[in-house]
């Protein structure tokens, strides 16, 4: 229990012009822990996700990995550090097939040629872990359902053998059946000992799989809840601002 957390954010701030997106935000994620980040629209959830995955740089504060201060300079840097992210508008190529999408930008090759067979095998194994029902790896993405695309997007993260996975609204626009699959997948990520940051509007989904719920409100921390003991109402009132963690500065 005394080991340093996998990821720590200390007093992280971010401005976009005159807009304060994040003000002194703290966050901690341990290995084998699912931390949910919840909040209203524009609470800063996605900004945190983008900062962790190297897309934005913090204006103030510090990010620590395994207790060591780090600068996550770019998405490639985050990738090298074992951080994988799936965003709301996932970066998938509609015209390419499933395997190509999973390995997009990190294609495997053998003696200078694409190793299609090995990529197919790996892609199948990732999808099998996900319980995905995509029969043909040659199907272009444009023909898949929203849920199947989400599965491809999440399968993509497994390629880098990540230690921390950031999922931004993974269950938005999914059917209940597909939501069930994605939530089970989040549980298996935890069982694999990875840290998971789960961003979602849906408190029901969040409370189903998260160990801890961190509430953001107007770019500030507004409460941290242990899922097992926190009631739906407590979390909701922190989101809406009915309860305040500290006064606004």
């Amino acid at each position: 229990m005394e080991d340093a957390p996998l990821l720590t954010l200390r007093s992280v701030s971010k401005h976009f012009g005159g807009v304060q997106a994040l003000v002194d935000v703290d966050l901690e994620v341990r290995a084998g822990e699912v931390v949910a980040l919840v909040g209203d629209n524009a609470a800063g959830k996605s900004t945190v996700a983008r900062m962790i995955s190297g897309i934005y740089q913090p204006d103030g504060g510090q990010i620590y990995l395994d207790g060591r201060a780090v600068t996550i300079a770019s998405a490639q840097a985050a990738f090298a550090m074992g951080i994988a992210a799936v965003f709301q508008e996932f970066a998938l190529a509609e015209n390419l097939d499933v395997t190509s999408n999973i390995f997009l930008g990190r294609e495997l090759s053998s003696s200078g040629l694409l190793d299609v067979d090995r990529m197919d095998d790996l892609a199948r194994s990732y999808l099998a872990q996900l319980n995905a029902r995509i029969p043909d790896l040659r199907t272009p993405l444009v023909q898949l359902s929203a849920g199947q695309r989400q599965c491809v997007a999440i399968a993509r993260t497994l390629v880098s053998r990540p230690r921390l996975v950031v999922l931004d609204e993974p269950t938005a626009s999914l059917s209940v059946g597909q939501t069930a699959e994605v939530l089970s997948y989040v549980e298996s990520l935890r069982d694999m000992g990875l840290g998971v940051i789960l961003i979602s509007h849906n408190l029901n989904d969040v409370r189903a799989v998260a160990d801890r719920i961190e509430v953001l409100r107007h770019g500030r921390n507004n409460g941290s809840f242990d899922t097992a003991t926190a009631s739906y109402e407590e979390v909701l009132s922190a989101i809406t601002g009915a309860t305040r963690l500290r006064s606004h500065r």
């Binding site: 029902r133 029969p135 043909d136 069930a180 089970s184 969040v206 160990d211 097992a228 739906y232």
Partner: protein
């Protein structure tokens, strides 16, 4: 499924093997085009086409015309000869659903994690959506579903009302009516432990036992006593409440109002409380996972829970003398530390048969309840009694 006729490598045996591969694939995907079948099974399109034609003749599958990428294609699905049945288990932290045909051949399984103290309206709405979603997956319409068996922690509903302390907020509900109003199909509610026992007795390790005891150890503990394959219901269906036998006369007050019930010692919350200081907040799933991974503290907690449950089971077994005992549920599914403690408790009673004779490993350590609910509704559909659409 892997039965093969003819000499190995001969033409007929090859064809048989290929056709069982195709059936497996159709089962796995519900509805699938012939082109996709070729891709999944690795067989040539011509072979797939031949085998599908054969299976059509044998009435195993049915095909419908569709289009894929602007081309005409044949969609292949298993023929639904008779009504499908749905088995569902709503527990403390998850919902599990299986769909099967009349032969109890499970077509598809799905699990949805649920939040702690989930609300009945949200959960039942999601359950209804999930049923129609999954029916669609196996290529069936809602009309083809003969009914839904629903396993719940202790009995909730008209018969056993007042005994349901395990799902907070669900105590006063007629869950069968609420769900059947949503899906317009008959719903039959069974107790979790009875469902698990039914699954083992019909499909698993209690088959053929004249009397048997099934112990359900999960977020709470319960049991079911089977006589000739039928769970003993008792007055108002309240039999089997193993979690409410007294084990600590100076213990904590149980949800039921009595003092020192087994559940106050071995329920998920009680175990979480034991590791809170050393491990921080953990849920039952986390404790079980850590115990399985060899964490000494969590192994100890699980083993102690096993001893407490084992002592109660040994008491009960001494009274009713079952032929076999098996178990299920998230806590029991951890295996060794739990089962070893159970074994020890049985060994300590000279009147009982040896643990090797009495204790049998379950066939469904985790998915028993949904399968048992399936068995229950399947029987009710076949008997044509007690199942009606209400609301």
């Amino acid at each position: 499924m892997n039965r093969v006729v003819g000499a190995p490598g001969s033409q007929p045996s090859l064809r048989e093997a290929n056709s069982s591969r195709i059936i497996e694939a159709v089962k796995a995907y519900g509805r699938i085009t012939q082109v996709e079948l070729a891709s999944v099974t690795g067989l040539s399109p011509a072979t797939v086409s031949n085998i599908v034609r054969q299976l059509l003749d044998q009435d195993v599958v049915e095909t419908t015309a569709t289009t894929r990428s602007g081309r005409r294609a044949q969609l292949v699905a298993l023929k639904t000869s008779s009504a499908l049945a749905v088995g569902m288990h709503i527990g403390r932290r998850s919902l599990e659903l299986v769909i099967a045909d009349a032969s109890l051949d499970v077509r598809t399984v799905k699990r949805l994690p649920l939040p702690p103290d989930h609300r009945s309206d949200t959960t039942l709405d999601r359950a209804a959506l999930l049923i129609s979603d999954m029916a669609d997956d196996v290529g069936a319409s809602m009309d083809q579903i003969g009914g839904v068996g629903l396993a719940l922690p202790s009995s909730v509903g008209r018969e056993g009302r007042g005994a349901a302390f395990q799902l907070p907020g669900w105590e006063e509900l007629d869950v069968d009516q609420l769900l059947s109003a949503r899906i317009q199909r008959p719903v039959l509610v069974v107790k979790e432990a009875d469902a698990g026992a039914l699954a083992e007795s019909r499909l698993g390790s209690l088959r053929g036992a004249s009397s048997a005891l099934y112990v359900y150890a999960s977020h709470t503990t319960d049991s079911s006593y089977l006589v000739s394959g039928t769970p003993l219901a008792g007055f108002r269906g309240a039999a089997g409440a193993l979690g409410h036998v007294r084990v600590a006369s100076a213990g904590q007050i149980c949800r039921c109002g009595a003092r020192g019930c087994l559940n106050t010692v071995v329920a998920g919350e009680a175990l979480a409380e034991l590791v809170r200081l050393s491990h921080g907040p953990m849920d039952l799933r986390g404790i079980v996972k850590a115990a399985a991974d060899g964490d000494p503290g969590c192994r100890q907690v699980v083993a102690d829970a096993g001893s407490a449950i084992g002592a109660a089971v040994a008491d009960l077994a001494t009274v009713v003398a079952p032929e076999r005992i098996t178990w299920g549920g998230e806590l029991a599914a951890v295996g060794e530390p739990f089962v070893a403690a159970l074994r020890e408790s049985v060994r300590a009673r000279p009147l009982l048969p040896s643990p090797d004779e009495l204790l049998v490993d379950p066939a469904f350590p985790t998915e028993g309840c949904s399968r048992g609910a399936l068995v229950a509704i399947h029987d009710a559909i076949n008997a044509g009694v007690g199942v009606t659409v209400e609301g």
